[in-house]
C-alpha cells in the first residue's frame, strides 16, 4: 500500500507547493479549491437537470394519463420508451456532437447547457413513469369526484389528482434525485469540469490517486445524503394527516 499524503489537497495546482491554509489566495489555486469548484459543477449540472426533468417528466406523465386521448397517451409513452432505452452516455454524445451538427443554431450552446438537456430529458422519462404510476395509484373515485363538482380536466388535475399523486411518489422521486447526482458523473466524457473529471485530471497531475479518489467519493456521498435529507424534510412538511400512513408501506 502507498503511504498516505493528505497534504496533496493543500498543494498549489501550478507549482505544487503546499499552501499554508489549504485555500489559495491572490490568484493561486489549490487542489482543494479545484475540488470544491468541481463539486459546484456537479451540483449545478444535477440541480438544473433535476428541475428540467421534473417539469418535462410531470407534463409527459400527466399526458400519459389523460382520459379519451389515445394519441396523446401514445406520444407520451413513445417519449418514455425513447429516452429510457438509450444509454445515458450515448444520449450525452447525441446532444453534444450530433444535435448541434443537425441544428446549426444550437452550435452556440455552451457544453454545460447541452449536458443539462441530456441528463434532464433522460431523467424526465423516469420521472414521467413515476408520475403516471402515482396518478394511476389513486382510486378512480378521486377523478369522478372532480368531475362531479364540475371541474374541467385541468382543474381536476390541479386541485384533486396531482396534489395527492406527488405526495405518493416522493419516495421514488427521492431515489431519482439521488440518481441524478450519480448520473451527472457521466458528463466527464464531454469535459465538464465536474468531480469525475477532476479525479481524472488531478489524480494524473499529482499521482495521489487514492487520496483524490477518497475525497471525490466523500463529496458524492455528502451530496446524496443532503438530497435524501431535503426530500425527507419535504415529505414531512407536505404530509396529509392519515393518508401517508396508508402509503407508508411503500407498495409502489
Amino acid at each position: 500500500m502507498a503511504n498516505w499524503d493528505w497534504q496533496v489537497f493543500c498543494k498549489d495546482t501550478v507549482d505544487g507547493e503546499v499552501v499554508a491554509r489549504c485555500f489559495g489566495s491572490g490568484g493561486s489555486v489549490t487542489y482543494l479549491d479545484w475540488m470544491l469548484s468541481a463539486w459546484g459543477w456537479t451540483v449545478s449540472v444535477s440541480v438544473c437537470a433535476l428541475l428540467l426533468a421534473l417539469i418535462v417528466g410531470s407534463i409527459v406523465g400527466v399526458l400519459r394519463t389523460l382520459p379519451d386521448s389515445p394519441w396523446v397517451v401514445r406520444l407520451g409513452n413513445a417519449w418514455v420508451e425513447l429516452f429510457r432505452n438509450i444509454p445515458l452516455l450515448v444520449q450525452i454524445f447525441l446532444w453534444y456532437y450530433v444535435v448541434p451538427t443537425l441544428i446549426p443554431p444550437m452550435r452556440s450552446f455552451p457544453p454545460f447547457l447541452l449536458v443539462v438537456i441530456a441528463l434532464g430529458l433522460f431523467t424526465s422519462a423516469r420521472i414521467a413513469e413515476q408520475v403516471r404510476a402515482g396518478i394511476q395509484a389513486l382510486p378512480k373515485g378521486q377523478r369522478y369526484a372532480g368531475m362531479a363538482v364540475g371541474f374541467t380536466t385541468a382543474q381536476t388535475y390541479r386541485y384533486v389528482i396531482l396534489p395527492m399523486a406527488y405526495r405518493i411518489i416522493i419516495p421514488p422521486l427521492t431515489s431519482e434525485s439521488m440518481n441524478i447526482f450519480k448520473n451527472s458523473s457521466v458528463a466527464f466524457a464531454v469535459s465538464i469540469a465536474e468531480l469525475t473529471q477532476f479525479y481524472l485530471q488531478a489524480g494524473e497531475e499529482t499521482s495521489r490517486q487514492m487520496e483524490i479518489y477518497i475525497g471525490v467519493i466523500f463529496l458524492y456521498f455528502i451530496s446524496a445524503m443532503a438530497i435524501n435529507r431535503i426530500m425527507a424534510f419535504i415529505e414531512k412538511r407536505v404530509r396529509v394527516p392519515g393518508f401517508v400512513a396508508a402509503s407508508g408501506g411503500g407498495g409502489h
Binding site: 432505452n85 438509450i86 456532437y97 458523473s185 466524457a189 467519493i217
Partner: protein
C-alpha cells in the same frame, strides 16, 4: 448538413461494430450471472439475522449504491494496479467491476424476492425436516427467482445500457466500436446516431419481451 451512412458496409460492421457488440453482450451475461450469484449470497447474509453477517453485507450494498458507476469503474481500473503493483487489462477490469457493482443491485432485488415468499413456506420446509440449505435451495429460492424474474431481467437491460460506461477506461464495447468506425471515416455524427438506434432497438425489444413474460408469469401465479 447531409447525413451519409454509406460507409457502413459489411466490412466496417464486422470489423468495428460486431467486435464491440460481442464484448458488450459478453460483459452483460457474465455480470448478470456473477451479480446474481454474489447478490444472492449478499441477500442471504442480510436476511440471516446474524449481526456479523448482516452488517458487512449492508455496508457493502449501501456503499456501492451510493457511488456513481463511472467512479467505481475508474477507481478499480486506476487504483488496483496501484495496490497489486501491475496493470490489469481494461476488459478484465470491466468484468470484475461490473460483477462487484451489480451484485449490490441484484442483492436488493433478491432480498425483496425472498421476503415475498410467505413465512409459512419456510415453516413448511422446516416441518419436513429440511436443513437451512435444503430449504433455501428447494423451497424458497426457486419461488423467489420466479417472482423476481421480470425485475431481474429489467435490471439486466439496464446493465446492458450501463456497459457503455466502460468507455471511461477505453475498453472496446459497442459504443467504442461505433466511435472508432466514425473516427476512421471522419463521420462521427452518423456513427453516434447509429449507435443510439442500435442500443434503442436492442433494449426496446428486450423490454418488450420482458413485459410479455411478466404478463405470462402473473397469470400462472
Amino acid at each position: 448538413m447531409e447525413l451519409d451512412f454509406g460507409f457502413y458496409n459489411w466490412g466496417v460492421i464486422s470489423g468495428f461494430v460486431l467486435k464491440g457488440l460481442y464484448f458488450s453482450i459478453f460483459l452483460t451475461i457474465v455480470a448478470t450471472l456473477g451479480g446474481v450469484f454474489f447478490g444472492t449470497l449478499l441477500a442471504l447474509m442480510r436476511l440471516s439475522g446474524q449481526k456479523w453477517l448482516d452488517l458487512p453485507a449492508a455496508a457493502y450494498v449501501n456503499g456501492m449504491r451510493s457511488i456513481p458507476l463511472v467512479m467505481v469503474i475508474l477507481g478499480f481500473f486506476l487504483l488496483v494496479p496501484f495496490v497489486i503493483g501491475r496493470p490489469i487489462g481494461a476488459e478484465t477490469s470491466a468484468i470484475i467491476t461490473f460483477i462487484a457493482f451489480e451484485a449490490a443491485y441484484f442483492s436488493e432485488i433478491m432480498r425483496a424476492g425472498i421476503q415475498s415468499i410467505p413465512r409459512g413456506q419456510v415453516f413448511a420446509g422446516q416441518a419436513m425436516g429440511m436443513t437451512y440449505g435444503q430449504n433455501m435451495k428447494l423451497v424458497i429460492l426457486p419461488q423467489a427467482f420466479r417472482n423476481m424474474l421480470p425485475v431481474l431481467l429489467t435490471q439486466t437491460i439496464i446493465l446492458f445500457q450501463d456497459t457503455s460506461l466502460v468507455y471511461a477506461i477505453g475498453a472496446y464495447d459497442l459504443l467504442k466500436g461505433f466511435e472508432t468506425a466514425g473516427k476512421n471515416f471522419g463521420r462521427p455524427t452518423e456513427s453516434y446516431l447509429l449507435a443510439a438506434v442500435v442500443y434503442f432497438v436492442i433494449c426496446f425489444s428486450l423490454s418488450y419481451v420482458v413485459k410479455r413474460l411478466h404478463k405470462k408469469i402473473a397469470i400462472i401465479r
